[in-house]
């Protein structure tokens, strides 16, 4: 039963339909304490949708979501903040939790943006804002972190540092991480479990297994898989542009 106890969130055959179109269907996965699960897949493959289902943002879903924690930190992919609301970085950090000042400082220092604490959120650059978003999510020391493209717009060296930080956080806090990333290299090195989505689960497993998988190759091209594997097997179905499965 010890494995069961470590589960933070469990998706059982979930799907979400919007405007008569299934954004994702038949997705099952689970995130455990101290583990990083990464969702990969092309644009529109339902990565963010799956994360939002896991978080309970989408309500009318098919299938089941079981959540075993309420201490969650979330970095959404897109965030639009209305500037009619004057908001400093430190106000934003306290958005969902009442944190002590040193907890704020610690998180902001980790992501390298402590100097921006009193700045207005509207004056930050894309990369700075992304670092603040990540700092906010980790500052409350969550049990489950859901990171949707957490380093978009961050410069190259910063990107590597932030991924290292994410890895460190998962070890230090023993929290589970559901990560969505485009950076396949990072995915393959820092992740415990990879789920490859394209409207449904194409393949999943350890990074190595997925890299060898033919569907993964079909989605990301030869180059992506060559780095780790040249293993081949038969593809049993094809996809049209919108991710629907073509019937052969």
């Amino acid at each position: 039963m010890s494995i069961e106890k470590n589960i933070l969130v469990k998706l059982k055959d979930v799907g979400f339909e919007q405007n008569d179109k299934w954004l994702v269907k038949g997705v099952s996965l689970q995130v455990e304490k101290g583990k990083i699960v990464t969702l990969i897949g092309p644009n529109g493959s339902g990565k963010s949708t799956t994360a939002k289902i896991a978080l309970g943002i989408y309500k009318n879903i098919e299938g089941q979501v079981e959540k075993f924690t309420n201490n969650i930190g979330y970095v959404p992919q897109k965030i639009s903040i209305d500037w009619t609301l004057p908001l400093r970085v430190k106000d934003f950090m306290l958005l969902t939790d009442n944190l002590k000042d040193d907890a704020l400082d610690e998180a902001l220092t980790l992501t390298g943006v402590k100097h921006l604490k009193d700045k207005n959120l509207g004056n930050l650059s894309g990369g700075e804002f992304q670092r603040v978003l990540l700092a906010r999510a980790i500052s409350k020391k969550p049990e489950l972190l859901v990171l949707d493209e957490p380093v978009q717009g961050v410069d190259f060296t910063g990107e590597i540092a932030l991924y290292e930080l994410i890895k460190k956080i998962s070890e230090k806090l023993n929290c589970g991480i559901l990560l969505i990333s485009h950076d396949l290299h990072t995915v393959m090195t820092a992740t415990d479990h990879v789920v490859c989505l394209n409207g449904h689960v194409c393949c999943s497993g350890s990074p190595k297994d997925v890299a060898r998988n033919n569907e993964y190759k079909a989605l990301f091209g030869e180059q992506a898989s060559q780095t780790l594997s040249v293993y081949e097997h038969k593809h049993d179905h094809e996809h049209s542009n919108d991710g629907e499965i073509k019937k052969n």
Partner: protein, 267 residues
């Protein structure tokens, strides 16, 4: 100069300003000024119901406005009309029905101007109790839902994902809007309540760089508007609501110069 009625009006106005300050901030942040208008227009219907059934006016307005808010939510789900069209539909039809109903109530003398624009002569000691007790309750509830309401105002998905239940906070906030309209209608009048909610807040926006400051400045702006407005209402014999809102406008215009200064400083 300080007749008894004037002191009452002043005390009432101060109570209202303390509540409209923080609520007004959320009205501006969440873009609800037309929603506020709609609830205020429907208040006339509440007044006529109160007179017909010989019922407490504030309670009647509170119930009517809450029902209108519920109808709005239902209509948003059931029709394909855009939100602003639905708001206009409800605002003007409830105002029209209210005015027609008044036409039928020939046995009661109505001060329609007072209802629409506020009347400081009409504030009774009972009204003061309604305003201060009701206002305190509104502020207490607002404090309780502040965290989820504010978080979901900044970003709904973050609030929802991190377990703050923003939908409940939104529903409670709607009820608070109906409540502030119910307690402030006698002073400000139903056509101008939204002005009282948003103009001091707009002034506060020009002067603040963080949400707490904006709430405080919004309350101060409201208080100043009430003082200036009521004194000029007494002095020039003008209706109280428009006088208060006009005073708020003057403060807003002053706050624009502050922006100009900061922009010049930055350059």
């Amino acid at each position: 100069m300080f007749d008894d009625f004037f002191i009452r009006a002043l005390v009432a106005g101060i109570g209202i300003a303390f509540v409209t300050g923080p609520l007004g901030c959320f009205v501006v942040w969440r873009r609800l000024s037309y929603f506020g208008d709609t609830l205020a227009h429907s208040a006339l219907l509440g007044v006529t119901i109160a007179y017909t059934l010989e019922f407490n006016i504030a309670v009647s307005i509170f119930i009517t406005s809450s029902i209108i808010a519920l109808i709005l939510v239902k209509l948003e789900k059931k029709t394909n009309l855009p939100g602003d069209a639905l708001l206009g539909l409800l605002a003007h039809s409830s105002l029209a029905v209210g005015l027609v109903a008044i036409g039928f109530l020939t046995f009661i003398r109505f001060d329609i101007m007072g209802l629409l624009f506020g009347d400081i002569l009409a504030v009774t000691t009972d009204d003061l109790l309604t305003i201060w007790i009701g206002g305190a309750l509104i502020l207490l509830v607002l404090k309780l839902i502040w965290k989820p309401l504010f978080a979901s105002t900044v970003n709904y998905e973050l609030a929802e994902a991190e377990g703050l239940n923003p939908d409940r906070a939104k529903a409670i906030f709607t009820i608070l809007m109906a409540a502030i309209i119910a307690i402030s209608i006698k002073m400000v009048g139903l056509l101008l309540i939204t002005g009282m909610l948003i103009i001091p807040t707009a002034m506060a926006r020009n002067l603040s760089d963080n949400p707490q400051k904006m709430v405080v400045f919004s309350i101060i702006g409201g208080l100043l508007s009430v003082f200036i407005g009521l004194f000029s209402s007494l002095e020039f014999n003008t209706p109280s609501g428009p006088s208060i809102v006009a005073a708020a406008l003057v403060l807003f215009i002053f706050s624009l110069f502050k922006i100009k200064q900061t922009i010049q400083l930055k350059n």
